[in-house]
């Protein structure tokens, strides 16, 4: 398989994951804010911090209003990580790798792009936001369904999985960070009711609420949610699961020694010394370190398969 094609498939998967994550994140944040007590001051701006987009945001908007933030996250064409731009990248990458993907992948992505171009305003206004974001998430699932059910487990498939799983691991760590940060800045951080709401929303944003309850069997709390999202070996968005999936992909790809070595190392060390007992600053720092490891992993993949000259 062409190095260039491998890279494009990998990015198609990463961007698709970003589209889906943004849709879930905005949807659940909207719901969370509806539930919060009046005196709690949780701002939409957390979503900007979560994306490391403080500068890009302040370059374009003065007010940190819900409308501005949602516009920036979903529709702003100058923002490379806006949902509409990520989908554009999915479309371009799929469009240029049509020959190795199931044919319906292109049709579905193309359809979703048209839908988004026409209906983006629905996502910005609160009234139809939920419905709009649901449609987006469902179409992303459709693509995953096609890849799961209609794609040969060839190298293209492995690169798609590589992209999906590295992005998921990264997103999970970022979304956990947003939970920790939200509570960090609250004077009522110890308030179990607030903590319950925030971590519940985090689990929903990761599509993990239901699985958490069935597995952990206690009411939602910070340490429980964190442990589950980092360590559960069976839920497909936990860091542990994603690293295992990445390792499996790497094993199935040619010339994989460096990547396999790296992943094994990450598997052994990454999930050590999680500061479970303090989900404040120490945990935020720990997550920052994990995100660096993941970024480094991307460079390893790149050097190994995409730019081998």
């Amino acid at each position: 398989m062409l190095s260039r094609v491998a890279e494009r498939i990998y990015w198609a998967a990463r961007y698709l994951e970003r589209v889906e994550n943004t849709s879930r994140l905005v949807r659940n944040y909207t719901l969370l804010l509806l539930d919060l007590p009046q005196n709690v001051d949780l701002s939409w701006y957390n979503l900007i911090i979560l994306n490391n987009a403080e500068k890009e945001f302040s370059d374009r908007y003065q007010h940190r209003s819900e409308k501005n933030i949602i516009k920036f996250l979903l529709a702003n064409k100058d923002n490379a990580s806006a949902m509409i731009q990520c989908l554009k990248m999915v479309r371009e990458n799929v469009r240029t790798t049509r020959d190795v993907m199931p044919p319906e992948t292109w049709e579905t992505v193309n359809e979703l792009s048209l839908f988004m171009e026409e209906n983006i305003q629905q996502g910005i206004n609160r009234t139809n936001r939920h419905e709009f974001l649901d449609t987006v998430a469902q179409d992303c699932h459709k693509v995953h369904g096609l890849i799961e059910g209609a794609m040969r487990r060839d190298e293209a498939w492995q690169f798609f999985q590589l992209g999906s799983n590295i992005e998921r691991a990264d997103m999970t760590s970022r979304i956990l960070e947003s939970g920790a940060t939200m509570l960090l800045h609250q004077s009522k951080a110890s308030d179990t009711k607030l903590s319950h709401l925030v971590w519940g929303s985090i689990l929903h944003s990761l599509s993990a609420h239901h699985s958490y309850q069935r597995t952990v069997r206690t009411s939602v709390n910070g340490p429980g949610a964190v442990r589950f999202m980092l360590e559960d070996p069976h839920f497909p968005r936990t860091v542990s699961f994603c690293v295992n999936a990445l390792l499996e992909c790497a094993i199935n790809l040619p010339r994989n020694e460096t990547a396999v070595k790296h992943l094994n190392k990450l598997k052994r060390s990454a999930l050590k010394e999680i500061p479970h007992d303090n989900l404040g600053q120490p945990f935020v720092d720990w997550l920052g370190h994990l995100q660096l490891e993941i970024a480094n992993l991307h460079l390893v993949f790149s050097d190994n398969w995409f730019y081998w000259e």
Binding site: L2, R4, A6, D99, E107, N110, L253, P254
Partner: protein, 482 residues
């Protein structure tokens, strides 16, 4: 109310679907009967269905303009164009006859040039041809075939006879639209495919792949075939990707290939992999910066060396475009006679070569009645339609022809055939059209069942190019059992 035929008058043009007396032609009889039952709502519903299908399949083409590139949805008319299978069989034979002769001709030009020595074609025609590549002299592609994929443009005159209008031997495009038009029509009129014996078209990619495989220099069960595209910004990129996918081969860009020891390799996640056959969709002059356009970043340095040393096959071969010249076109009947000793099964349109002083005088005297075409343009650019031209345009072309006669040919304005086309709501009007079948030649020959029908959507217009307001129709070769 159903389809509105009130304004339907084909005048003295040949109508593809309806006879002069207003009855349905035999291959179209089921279709017309069926369309007659449609209510206005039903017509709208089917039109919508087609629109949605085209959007969903992402069928698009790119138009280049100063304002930037626009990706437009493919303009499509839902009423198919029909051709009888009996007539098509003879036409298809004529097309492969023509391509066989043209390939013998190209091979001769790059070797002994017997046809020039025998004075069948004047030597200056080749000497001044923009598409004769001296770099190709002495090369011997497998099976003696240079033009492996040909898209000829056919038109019908008022009697219904097919003529070849031009041969496209460089990088002809359109076949993906032919295939997609059928896919759309199957969604729009599924019922008709039960009652009408319509010849399928979707075997084209299989034939293309086996033709390409037959060119492989290495004797392998599965030669390594790739499609070489200039990239996403090319107007035919959709087609490049489409064909690669349908054949299950890699779509590569120039930067994905590298030449080492005269062999071509593809940069892959496994390292370098040798490539046997390249279906290139890049023009000759951009293929290899070592030999042609030095600034080309689309091509592959060393590709010509690899091809000439027989380590890789290129389809179409470089230099094949020499036979695509509109002046050469004028000589094709003679070329067929010379190499095959056969009479052409399909005629040429009467053509005046401006390089010939006698013919040039005729052209200059009758400019307002003729169509003037430059010898080496495609896409309908740079031509003059005499009867529709202003005085200024006529004078401009007079000067052009006088200063460079070799570059121009002239043809009478054709009474292109028409077919019923939905123009607005339920209103049906005749529109002019042509037909581009695709012909393959490798070890064996193959011709598509029908071809791509292009329609001039503007009333009275003869320009069918999609870049200039043309649309298209599905083309049915119908076996009526006679």
């Amino acid at each position: 109310m159903s389809l509105n035929w009130e304004n339907y008058q084909t005048q003295d043009f040949f109508d593809e679907l309806v006879t002069a007396k207003g009855r349905a032609r035999k291959p179209a009889s089921n279709l017309i009967r069926y369309l007659r039952q449609f209510s206005n709502e039903e017509i709208e519903r089917r039109k919508k269905l087609a629109e949605v299908a085209i959007k969903q399949m992402g069928v698009s083409f790119t138009i280049y303009s100063e304002a930037g590139n626009i990706d437009r949805a493919w303009p499509f008319d839902i009423i198919p164009r029909t051709i009888s299978a009996t007539q098509w069989r003879t036409t298809a034979e004529g097309l492969s006859q023509r391509l066989r002769a043209l390939n013998l001709f190209i091979d001769d030009l790059y070797h002994d040039q017997r046809i020039l020595k025998d004075k069948i074609i004047p030597e200056h025609v080749i000497k001044q041809s923009k598409n004769f590549r001296k770099e190709c002299i002495g090369a011997s592609p497998k099976h003696g075939v240079w033009a492996h994929i040909c898209g000829s443009d056919l038109v019908r005159d008022e009697s219904g006879q097919f003529f070849v209008l031009e041969d496209n031997l460089r990088v002809p495009s359109g076949v993906s639209y032919l295939l997609e038009n059928r896919a759309v029509t199957k969604r729009v009129f599924p019922e008709l495919f039960k009652t009408t014996a319509i010849e399928p078209v979707n075997d084209y990619p299989d034939h293309l792949l086996s033709m390409l495989s037959s060119l492989s220099p290495r004797r392998l069960k599965q030669p390594h075939v790739v499609v070489l595209t200039p990239g996403i910004f090319n107007s035919a990129y959709f087609e490049h990707a489409y064909l690669a996918q349908k054949m299950g081969v890699e779509l590569v860009e120039g930067a994905d290939l590298i030449v080492k020891d005269n062999s071509v390799y593809m940069k892959s996640i496994d390292g370098l992999q040798q490539v046997d056959v390249i279906y290139r969709r890049i023009d000759d002059l951009y293929l290899d910066p070592e030999v042609f356009n030095k600034d080309s970043v689309l091509g592959v340095p060393g590709l010509m060396r690899a091809w000439k040393s027989g380590k890789v096959a290129l389809a179409n071969a470089p230099g094949a475009g020499v036979a695509d010249d509109k002046v050469i076109y004028a000589y094709v009947p003679k070329i067929i006679k010379y190499y095959l000793d056969e009479e052409p099964l399909i005629s040429n349109v009467e053509t005046f070569v401006c390089a010939d002083p006698k013919e040039r005088d005729h052209v200059l005297a009758n400019l307002d009645k003729l169509v003037i075409k430059p010898a080496n343009e495609s896409g309908g650019y740079g031509m003059l339609i005499g009867p529709h031209a202003t005085k200024k345009e006529l004078n401009q072309f007079k000067a052009l022809i006088k200063s460079n006669p070799r570059n121009y040919i002239a043809q009478p304005t054709l009474k292109l055939s028409v077919a019923p086309t939905l123009v607005e709501g339920n209103l049906v009007e005749p529109r002019h059209l042509d037909l581009r079948p695709f012909i393959l030649q490798g070890k064996e020959s193959y011709v598509t069942a029908g071809g791509l029908t292009r329609v001039a959507m503007r009333k009275g217009s003869l320009v069918v190019n999609s870049s200039q307001g043309g649309g298209s129709k599905d083309t049915w070769v119908v076996d009526t059992g006679t």
